[in-house]
């Protein structure tokens, strides 16, 4: 069977053939309730001894028909739904959606709103990476990091809570800008958090970066070459760990990113260890962006004048942002009414998870957990 798959080219997973097994082969079903699958992902593995011969991701357990719901809501009514897709990075989802609708309307958020959006989106990236770091380390067997990373994430969630009243599904932005002004000590809170964060990231690194077990469990695991990553549509930290220096914040800047200095960290090996290093470096860069942004938040209005009833002129738009997990795109078609005619969400996790089949082939069964963790998926977004 594997010969057939070879002929069809890599990555074109055909589903695991369970009919004829070799002498040492078994079919192992992992999930959908396995703790390391971060939600409800089911993976069918065909194993030869401990080696993965073939694999198939079975998704859809969390499918809620979000794109269908969108066609029956007005533009602002749909905004809270996008928070429930990548629910550990709701701010980023909201940013992408609001900007896409603004583009469709031909409107633009005022400078103050854009800077505040940038700050919150970068804090959200840090929070998302922190949660990933903790759970990924936990999957592999390092118990300590999650306590520390949750501690820092809590500070970010507190800032969100003070800003908009919600911690997870924030609905922080509105189409055209922001609903809320920043609260009194916003700048102080953000600065204080960022100042503390640098040392905290160092602390995580002392726990993991040169830890022999960590390196042994992640180095050379789940390798994805740059060419494969591009062909598979993989984006975000996974792509950058494979050596492609591409980040939408630089390539096609949105919000207020063009005003700030930051680097796009990349690595060459494309394994789980490099993905870890890329995300750690990204947190440091996000911290720098937030510090630059919070230094000068321009005065002015926080909402553009877009009218009370949003009726974008007929047409379509594709807008994407660099979410914590990769390119998060919204393709919205308007027919001139108050409801979108079609909303297509291009979720980064969906495309990144597709590369699992490629990464897992030939891996040991114990490494499957490390590979899933290193992709950083959220099933709410994969299944929508």
């Amino acid at each position: 069977m594997s010969a057939g798959n070879e002929a069809a080219g890599f990555g074109t997973a055909r589903g695991v053939d369970t009919t004829v097994l070799g002498e040492n082969e078994i079919i192992l079903n992992m999930g959908p309730q396995h703790p390391s699958t971060h939600g409800v992902l089911r993976i069918k593995l065909r194993l030869d001894g401990e080696r993965v011969v073939d694999s198939e991701c079975i998704i859809g357990y969390l499918h809620r028909g979000v794109e269908k719901i969108a066609e029956h809501r007005s533009y602002p009514q749909f905004a809270p739904y996008v928070d429930r897709m990548d629910y550990v990075a709701a701010v980023s989802n909201g940013l992408g959606y609001c900007e896409a609708v603004e583009k469709l309307l031909g409107a633009e958020a005022p400078p103050r709103a854009r800077v505040v959006r940038t700050i919150l989106a970068e804090l959200q990236r840090i929070a998302s990476h922190l949660l990933w770091l903790g759970t990924h380390a936990l999957d592999i067997g390092a118990l300590t990091p999650i306590f520390y990373s949750m501690r820092e994430r809590e500070e970010i969630l507190k800032i969100f809570e003070k800003y908009c009243g919600a911690r997870l599904t924030t609905h922080a932005f509105r189409i055209g800008g922001l609903q809320y002004e920043t609260y009194d000590t916003f700048e102080y809170d953000v600065k204080r958090f960022c100042e503390a964060l640098a040392a905290r990231i160092d602390e995580y690194e002392t726990l993991l970066t040169e830890n022999r077990i960590w390196v042994g469990r992640t180095k050379g695991v789940g390798v994805l070459s740059a060419d494969d990553a591009i062909a598979l549509g993989v984006t975000g930290p996974v792509l950058r760990a494979s050596g492609v220096q591409w980040d939408l914040r630089k390539a096609q800047p949105y919000a207020a990113y063009e005003q700030y200095q930051f680097e796009v960290p990349t690595r060459e090996n494309g394994d789980a260890y490099d993905r870890y290093l890329v995300r750690i470096a990204e947190m440091r860069q996000s911290r720098l962006i937030v510090l630059q942004a919070v230094e000068q938040i321009p005065e002015g209005p926080i909402m553009a004048r877009i009218g009370k009833v949003l009726k974008p002129p007929p047409g379509e738009v594709y807008h994407s942002i660099e979410g914590p997990k990769g390119e998060l795109g919204y393709y919205i078609v308007s027919d001139g009414t108050i409801q979108p005619y079609r909303v297509r969400v291009r979720p980064p996790s969906f495309f990144n998870l597709q590369a699992f089949h490629r990464m897992a082939r030939g891996a040991m069964v114990a490494d499957v957990v490390a590979i899933i963790g290193s992709i950083d998926i959220v099933l709410g977004e994969v299944d929508r």
């Binding site: 080219g9 738009v317 393709y331």
Partner: protein
């Protein structure tokens, strides 16, 4: 918001899909008008309004909105036209984004040319839009991105219900899942796809939910009763 003419009239609330579905079960159109609080249905205005949104292929939307889609031409388009002739249809620009209408049957060759010669290395997304009033009902949309040029390109093909579209999995392996999703939710058959199965919904599910004639409250009640042991809608 950008100012538009005709804003004082009653808003065109009627959506093009609503009344056009040939075989929609009775009562379906009532349920479709979900956010009732914002809707005022005036039959006449609605009937008129259904027109501009209809979008016959070959004519730009009739609304006079400022960023209206306009014909577009550049060297890339000329190269594609020279190579593929009639397979390249109308090329428009909408909100600064280029849309190339292509002939569905030639999409694999066009995709290959886009990838290798025009350096659109990445297939960002494959999706579809349903326009039930149109004869060629579905728009299949391929969103491409060029890492080299930092440009985006959107290919679009109009296809009829039973038609098959060539799969681009041989060009970008990453087309596998999004094409499966299109098949699952729209019922579009991609020819040459290695593994065209449902991806989000259960294998035995009946119907394709993102079609406009699939009512939002409707679901495969049989399946739900059999597998979940509850009455549909609970």
């Amino acid at each position: 918001m950008v100012k538009r003419g005709g804003n004082d009239e009653d808003p065109p609330e009627k959506r093009p899909g609503d009344e056009s579905v040939p075989d929609a079960s009775s009562g379906a159109s009532n349920v479709l008008q979900f956010p009732t609080s914002l809707k005022k249905v005036e039959p006449e205005a609605a009937a008129e309004a259904a027109k501009p949104a209809r979008r016959v292929p070959g004519s730009a939307p009739a609304r006079e909105a400022p960023p209206a889609p306009a014909p577009f031409d550049n060297e890339l388009v000329q190269r594609l036209r020279a190579r593929f002739g009639d397979a390249i249809g109308e090329v428009t620009i909408d909100r600064k984004q280029v849309i190339v209408i292509v002939d569905a049957s030639h999409v694999r060759e066009i995709a290959l040319a886009c990838r290798d010669d025009e350096k659109f290395e990445m297939l960002v997304d494959v999706t579809a839009v349903d326009w039930p009033r149109r004869e060629r009902r579905f728009d299949i949309v391929w969103n491409l991105y060029s890492l080299t040029k930092n440009e985006r390109l959107r290919l679009k093909a109009h296809v009829t219900v039973g038609a098959t579209v060539p799969s681009v999995t041989s060009v970008w392996v990453g087309a596998n899942w999004p094409e499966r999703e299109c098949f699952d939710l729209f019922g579009i058959v991609f020819e040459g796809h290695p593994d065209l199965r449902r991806i989000l919904l259960p294998e035995e599910w009946q119907g394709h939910p993102l079609r406009k004639d699939y009512d939002i409250l409707k679901q495969d009640t049989e399946w739900v009763r059999e597998h979940l042991g509850i009455e549909s809608g609970q």
